[in-house]
């Protein structure tokens, strides 16, 4: 079982990121689970969501304390909260930032991946919407889900609720972030 923690700011859509992640993993034939950190939600405040992906039924219902993967939607969180808390040595951390891993100054031996999703998504949406596009980076780095399943999950989540146009833009953004992630 892989445990994942998503860091974002209130309003950025970290909870939705977890939901699409869980739906995509499910489309790949895996069991999945996601839930928000149940804080008091305020716009701009640091928030977290958790996800679990497994080949077997997931019974565990505690919060995630020792993630294998951390996804950070906003690089300013690196200074605000300890984004590597509980992350195992050589654990994976994927950050939306225009800085390099060295410039961020994250201490510890982690597998750090940076991607400037903000710039990429401004080009797609006309504004910085990074929560779903960062799943492209997540899929590329972890290999935990196929790009195809991710796009299917976007359709599940957005076609009915927000319309086909929004869903398609999200898929374009995901593909761009996916292809530019190293």
């Amino acid at each position: 079982m892989i445990e994942i923690r998503i860091h974002g700011r209130g309003g950025q859509g970290a909870v939705t990121t977890g939901q699409i992640m869980a739906i995509a993993a499910f489309h790949d034939g895996k069991e999945s689970q996601t839930f928000p950190n149940f804080g008091v939600e305020r716009a701009g405040a640091p928030v977290m969501a958790f996800a679990r992906i497994s080949d077997e039924v997931i019974n565990l219902r505690s919060q995630v304390y020792k993630p294998q993967v951390v996804l950070v939607l906003d690089s300013s969180l690196v200074e605000a909260v300890n984004v590597t808390e509980g992350l195992k040595d050589n654990g994976t951390i994927i950050i939306n930032t225009n800085k390099t891993a060295e410039e961020l100054g994250i201490k510890g031996s982690f597998d750090i991946h940076t991607i400037d999703a903000t710039s990429i998504t401004v080009g797609v949406f006309g504004k910085p919407i990074v929560n779903t596009p960062m799943l492209g980076a997540f899929a590329k780095v972890t290999g935990l889900m196929s790009l195809e399943s991710l796009k299917k999950a976007i359709d599940d989540k957005f076609v009915y609720a927000k319309g086909k146009k929004i869903a398609d833009l999200n898929k374009v953004a995901i593909e761009k972030v996916y292809s530019e992630t190293r």
Binding site: A22, F35, F38, R61, S62
Partner: protein, 381 residues
């Protein structure tokens, strides 16, 4: 049947939708709100032909549910915490009038201090309101139990209201895969509600909710008590019907044992924490320890026989309460001690998870590690 990743709140809403209630009075409260929001969407989208009433408080929501059900139709509502507390007096009226209303309770702590997170203090505070009380572990069980609750409540040997309790946030806000039965499949197990005792018919007028004088009141209360005991069989039956039709059963419907056959030590709990206990049981079993779990799925009526049966041969038992009866001990602990008063095993009580305090595998390991020394009220901080 389709399988999808959905929120547990949506699973409840789908179970209710598939049960086709005629009236849903609602008043929003965290963490219940997603349930009635989904139902409002189904109505708006023309998928559910139900009258939703937006009332001004939970007291009114339950009053409207009583009024609706008393006309002879199926009604549903949902609440949590302070909302359930505000409904209190009408809960007793619903059961006393023998109105099989079904309600989801997204379990949340009672204030003060104000707290929006999960424990069982709300539904346990109405333990004696005469309602059936289910506690569910997963989103799937939430959907299935929403349907089963109507089947049981409306059975002519029962005719009592039912609560489906699911842990607020800890379960209500979790997305996970759920099998969603089709309307045709559900129509085969849940028949339309036909009121034979409580209805509105101008050609056949009846009085409901009349005064009960001392010469009748006590007899009616005994009937009510017997009816809640009758519910045990119907709960088992409806669980069996689901196992047959959908391949999903939850123990015998009242309790669900896990690895109990040869267990020497076991933990009893209700609700979503049972999932975490399963994980720890698996882990300890791999180390050769004979441990198990007994999930209490229905707390009212109380499954005393099942508890006696499944705890035979145990050396030690731990009971996890997510509420406390102040000045005494955990309520599940009290009731299980009473059920096992003449049995030779060590019974330990633990208070855990109050106001959203996360219950981790470490907490459960600690419980399993300390079942030899009798403890009445150990707080798992």
């Amino acid at each position: 049947m389709v399988r999808k990743v959905i929120e547990a709140s949506e699973a409840v809403a789908l179970g209710v939708k598939l049960s086709r209630p005629a009236v849903i009075p609602m008043y929003p409260i965290t963490p219940q709100t997603h349930i009635v929001e989904r139902l409002a969407e189904y109505i708006n989208d023309g998928e559910l032909d139900t009258k939703m009433l937006h009332v001004e408080s939970e007291h009114s929501a339950m009053s409207a549910a009583v009024g609706a059900q008393a006309t002879g139709v199926r009604s549903f509502t949902a609440t949590a915490s302070q909302g359930l507390a505000l409904m209190n007096e009408i809960l007793f009226i619903a059961s006393g009038m023998r109105l099989p209303i079904t309600m989801a309770v997204a379990n949340r702590a009672l204030a003060a201090p104000i707290n929006i997170w999960n424990d069982h203090s709300d539904s346990f505070s109405v333990r004696d309101a005469g309602w059936i009380q289910y506690y569910v572990e997963s989103a799937q069980e939430a959907l299935d139990t929403a349907i089963q609750a109507f089947m049981v409540a409306e059975d002519h040997s029962v005719l009592l209201p039912a609560m489906v309790c699911l842990d607020g946030f800890t379960l209500t806000h979790v997305y996970e895969p759920v099998d969603i039965p089709s309307q045709e499949e559900v129509d085969k197990v849940l028949k339309p509600y036909k009121a034979v005792h409580a209805f509105l018919d101008p050609d056949n007028p009846i009085t409901q909710g009349a005064i009960g004088f001392p010469n009748a009141f006590m007899d009616l209360k005994k009937d009510q008590h017997d009816a809640l005991l009758n519910a045990k069989n119907v709960i088992k039956e409806s669980n069996w019907i689901f196992a047959e039709k959908f391949g999903r059963g939850y123990g015998d419907g009242l309790v669900e044992p896990y690895m109990m056959e040869d267990a020497e030590y076991a933990v009893v709990a209700l609700g979503s924490v049972c999932g975490t206990i399963r994980v720890v049981v698996d882990e300890l079993r791999k180390k050769g320890k004979k441990v198990g779990m007994l999930k209490i799925r229905v707390f009212r009526p109380f499954p005393e026989e099942q508890i006696v049966e499944h705890t035979k041969g145990l050396k030690g038992l731990g009971i996890i309460d997510k509420e406390v009866s102040f000045g005494q001990e955990g309520t599940v602990y009290s009731e299980i001690r009473s059920a096992l008063y003449d049995k030779d095993l060590t019974i330990n009580g633990f208070i855990a998870g109050l106001g959203g305090r996360d219950i981790t595998p470490d907490h459960i390991r600690k419980v399993f590690d300390s079942l030899d020394a009798e403890k009445r009220t150990e707080w798992l901080f």
